[in-house]
Structures are given as structure tokens and as C-alpha cells.
Amino acid sequence: MTREMTFIINERTYTVQADPSMRLLDLIREVIGLTGTKEGCAEGECGACTVIMDGKAVTSCLILAGQAEGRRITTIEGVAKNGELSRLQKAFVECGAIQCGFCTPGMILSAKALLDENPHPTAEEIRTALSGNLCRCTGYTKILDAVQKASEDTD
């Protein structure tokens, strides 16, 4: 059963007709139309669908739209500002932390949630923050390096 629902995504308010029992992932991709958030495993194991909700990294395949109503959500589309990549995104490019790119939005958002809360994490804290995100192309070293680099760079 659909009803009128309001979501705050990337600092923009969307009022849409949606089913509160659909997954947040499907709402973001199919109702809002932001397809940067990827579906991997659909069971909370791979982290490809990670978004930030009220400052915390969450897997959008495990959350229903009704639970996310009225909460502040950031997807990969909200990370670059005014057409310019964030420091974290630039670090991913510079470190070669991207191959096929499918896991990258989730990796970026898990890392962003960490850095927003803890701007200078230890290597161990970075590993823990990314422990819920799988990458099947690379080793993880370049991804960890990129987050480390972003935490060291100053604007």
C-alpha cells in the first residue's frame, strides 16, 4: 500500500508516493532514481548498498523505506559538491582504489561515515570501518591507503 512519504536525501527533500514496506535500496534506485547505490548480495553481507543515515553507515538492503522516513540520508550522489569530487573520492582515484567500481560507492560511504566522526583514524579503525564492504577485484590495500590518504590530506 503506497502513501505519501518524505525523505531527506543528499540535503534535498523528496515527497513521493511509495510503499513504506519497500527496501530503502529500492526506494533510492527506483522511486527517487539515484542509481549510484548498488545492490550486491541483498542480505547485508557485501556493503555495496551502503548509504549514510543520520551519520551512520547502513546497508540500504536491510532497511525499509518506512524506517528511513524523515531521516537524513546521504548516497554517493551527495558526496561530490558543486561538481567537484570530495577529498576522499580524489584519494580513491589517486591511489588506484577503483577497478570495476561496483563496490566503490559503498566503500566511499563507509569511509565517509568514519572520517566524519573520526577525521584521523588509526589503520585498525579504518579496517574495522570497512569490514562490512567487500571488493572482488582488488586487494584491499589500495582502498585502505586511499582512506588513510584522505585522512592525512588537508584542503
Binding site: M1, S21, K56, L62, L64, Q67
Partner: protein
Amino acid sequence: MLVKNYYKPATLPEALQDMQRPFVKALAGGTDIVIALNERDTVPDGLVDLSGIAELKQITLRGNELHIGSMATFTQIATNASVRRVCPMLAAAAASVGSPQVRNVGTIGGNLANAATAADTVPALMAADAKAIVRSARGERVLSVTEIPTGLNATCLTQDELICEFIVPLHENCFMDFEKVGRRKALAIARINMGILLEMHGGTIERAAVAYGAVGKTAYRVTELEAFLSGKKLDGGLIEDAAALVERIVTEKLHGRKTTPYKRKIAAAVLRRALIKAREDDAR
């Protein structure tokens, strides 16, 4: 469309009324049920989303009891200063669940209500003698956490009851530990998990509480082991005798399941690990 009706009460009394509706299920964090809904493993007529009820998310230390709202997330519990001080095994259990993303959403009440045998916070709650306050529109019950799981994904709760709060008593000067064996560190479903509490006095175990999960259909308190440990001096001989006893208990409990040879070894290994820590802790 996953379900026909979606209720999002703002208060607990409203939630209890909503739970009276036929064929509804409570939605806590959702990290288990959303997968089940998506795979059509469960098809309720309605969901009662508890995420809007602020009073269920509180963690407070009152007198000699820790009160943990059922909608407190694993992240909240793992990082809460009172939980870490009063019940470190529960904080460790919460920190061991899934991934950061799962811990940010999954709740302690959902962990118990879903009643997976490997649920990480359940053996810690059991070893801490935690009670659960369970409410429905018909009234309130206070249950020991040990009474609640009755089988695989089954509890003694009726369809309209909600777990609202956990009460964890303070255990002054006790050793506590949570141990877990999984196939990997992150996102591992426990192959075994254990909460242990020991009241020690001058190298002797005065009182022991040990609960295992992922051995059999529900987590449970191992009373035979507790009785064996109580009143004994904690030395190398006792550790080996206790490990041998737990191997026998687990073998009997699993009666012939094919994982028995592995489970009895890891059950003994986690016990040994915890008892060695307790001995070092007591020597300090």
C-alpha cells in the same frame, strides 16, 4: 510491495495496540526480517515499525541495575560507557555482531526475538542473569532471558507481546568474558559463542555463570559446568577438567549431529581461553 499494512506507532501504548492486529509482526532494526521479507520467507499482513519509539532506545544505569531498551542498537551497546563498565561481556558481544552497518541498525531486542541459536548478545545476557520486560496490551511479564528462546527462531512470546527492556543486575568485582568463533572476523555467524561470569575470591571460583550459543537449538546456561566450577581453585588442572567436561556436555547436547566433533573442540577451546584470562585477571 512486501506487506499490505505498515504501522509506525510513535509511542509504546500505540505500538501495543497495533500488535493486537491479526497477523502483524514487530519490526525492530530489521536486519533479519527484511531479508526474510525480501526472500518471501515470511509474509505477515502487517508490520509494526518500532523505530519511532524513543523510550525503547534508552540505556540507563539506575541503582544497581542497567536498563537497556530493546531498540538500543549493537553500536549503542558496544560503545556505551555504562555497559562497558558494568557488563563488558555484553559490550563485547554487541561489538562482535555482523558489520558496522549491521551494528548501526540491528537491535538487542530483535537479536533475542529472532531467536537464532547463534545470536551473539543472548549468551552474554544469559550469563549476566538478565531479565526482559515483556509487554502487551493485556499486561506485563518479567522473564528471565533464559526462558525466552524455545527453539530455532522460536520464543515463548505470544504474537502480541513486545520485548521492551532488559534489566542487567550489577555484578561487583566479577570476571566477565565473551568468546566467539566464526569463519572470519567480520560478518561471521558464530560457530560458537559464549558468555561467562566468574566471581573469584583469592584464586577460587565462588560462583560461575556460563552460557553457550550455537550449540543446539537455543543458547542456554550450562548449569552442570557452573556447579562443577563453583568452589574450586582456578588452576591448570581445573581448566583441563572443565574443558573435558564441556566436551562431554556438548557431545550429549548435539547427540550425533555431524558438526559434533568440531563443536565440542571449539566449545572446550573458548572455555579454556576464558578461564586462562580469568586466572591472569585474578593474579593481577
